[in-house]
Symmetry: C2
Subunit: 367 residues, 2 copies
Amino acid sequence: MKDFEVTARCGKARLGRLTTPHGVVDTPVFMPVGTQASIKGVPHDMLNCPVILSNAYYLYLKPGLEILKNFGGLHRFMNWNNSILTDSGGFQIFSLSALFKIRENGVEFRSKFDGSKHFLTPEEAVSFQFEIGSDIIMSLDRCMKYPSPRADIASAVNTTCAWAEKGLSAAKRYETGQKLFAITQGGTFPDLRRECTEKLMEHPFDGFAVGGLGVGEPLLLRQERLAENLDMLPADKPRYVMGMGPAPEIWDTVEMGADMFDCVLPTRNGRNAQAFTFSGKINLRNAKFKNDKLPIDSSCGCPACLKYSRGYIHHLFNVREMLAQTLTSLHNISFMIDLTQLIRDSIKNGTFPEEKKKFMNNWKGEN
Amino acid sequence: MKDFEVTARCGKARLGRLTTPHGVVDTPVFMPVGTQASIKGVPHDMLNCPVILSNAYYLYLKPGLEILKNFGGLHRFMNWNNSILTDSGGFQIFSLSALFKIRENGVEFRSKFDGSKHFLTPEEAVSFQFEIGSDIIMSLDRCMKYPSPRADIASAVNTTCAWAEKGLSAAKRYETGQKLFAITQGGTFPDLRRECTEKLMEHPFDGFAVGGLGVGEPLLLRQERLAENLDMLPADKPRYVMGMGPAPEIWDTVEMGADMFDCVLPTRNGRNAQAFTFSGKINLRNAKFKNDKLPIDSSCGCPACLKYSRGYIHHLFNVREMLAQTLTSLHNISFMIDLTQLIRDSIKNGTFPEEKKKFMNNWKGEN
């Protein structure tokens, strides 16, 4: 059996199975974000999901390689037995750019915690992720803000491709079953994205991620580039759209052939009282919920919905109790997991377009 | 069967059973504090304890009587099926005194939330707790700071006794099984405490609480007054020492014949990385724990200790993840529950003095 198989299709939408050292991941899949080895506000032992995301840049600084190795890897350190995907830190080079200097053979940066100086090669970025036992490892890439001059994007594409190759040379995945993914860049320039993607596809990566989007460009432009880029990718490898989270965009992007997603929205929104339901988003701080005995979403089976009402959670936000953030974040992650289950079922049943339409009609945004 | 029975004794220490509308509470018991219908940082569905504490003053303001009644009472509102004790708000009159004015027939106060003006009689304070379905209801009392002039304490004793009688007249406990407790005051004046206690004992309260201590007086003075006051109380009624939390003081006070305790320390300390163990307190922020694979307390069976290491929780505090506070608070509450189980067993087995000595020897404070 191959480590990734597409088992059904509905249009371009794909149902797949990705096998990692920690189990099988049915795709399309949503991966909750646990940047620093914890999903913000949510005890991860309350979650039932096949893969979570963590961040090599943060883990490299704290707790660091030595401690993670001493604990027998990231899984044991945080007591998570399903799969873990680690982002390499390429996006942090972008988002915390004041702390970074790009050199030809790697990145010089200062710790966001204590200002200490570090130098990381693309080989080390990949080795670190192998060493801590990540199941799905991302190459170190170079992400640029939108808009950026074409010359800068072209240069970032060259760096990204060179670093991906160097990371590949450091990979030991054939022995361990760990996967190494490359990340495409190229901003919103179609030809640069193609150049980057084709170069990366010359190498035996286990999967490909579309990166460098969702950095400020207009939604329609993003969707065009996403669709084109996903079309270029090999049919027999998993496709990961990085940092994409709003439910409607997940439907759109699955329709273009994407398999994997991650986003901080479920927990970030959850901490701000915004809850996802299949009838749209609701803000639990709204006074209209104060007497509401229904759960956040009556169709949801998560612990928050099985045990607590909107009225109670409204009260918890009102009096600033931490439990408010925990319950709403937990629910929002469960919603994303249910949403991708619905998507997978609709691909299997050949009803993806109808289910998408139904979802979009019900999802009215804030209500 | 009576609603409270003492089933064993070891010296003055008592093993008891208190029956409420929501079950049986084995005493001595520690009650975790959920002031605003939530135990800070801890999903209460993770707790296994017979009774928690909430606060009528806070609940009266938010969410208020109407909403709590609409939900069918506090238990259903917060989805807690074991017993609830509600404090009346007397301590808040003391601790938030700038917002209060004492009148002969009640208290005038402003909401700490929105400054709105309220007037509460001692009858209403008790009725409110009955209406929201509290299992153990506290009379409205008048608590004074330490030190206060004798005349002020004497006046507070008079008010406390008058209010307790008025609350009793408003009680409907014989129909519902709900319990009404009176609270003794008198500061550190032995004769005033005796006067207050004897007056209150003329009336058929279901239990008695020792109040007005732990407000700044020296520990030895507190212990003397506590011992005297507990000795005055009837043998066939439960005795509750309000707001008492440090583990050594719980041993001391059980030895004086106390049955019930509550304290915010397990959650407050938990939020500040201080964890309780049977070998003393530890501060999980301490760098010496960064490579520690042991649970907080190896003898503990709480979810935090079953699943996570000191090293991981140290990391969570280090990177300011909420899960750090949740796990440590959850553990500290579990520790208090285990501690009172140990105390109950030692009373039953007649080994209280030996077990107390053993505990005290191991409990070295910070280590």
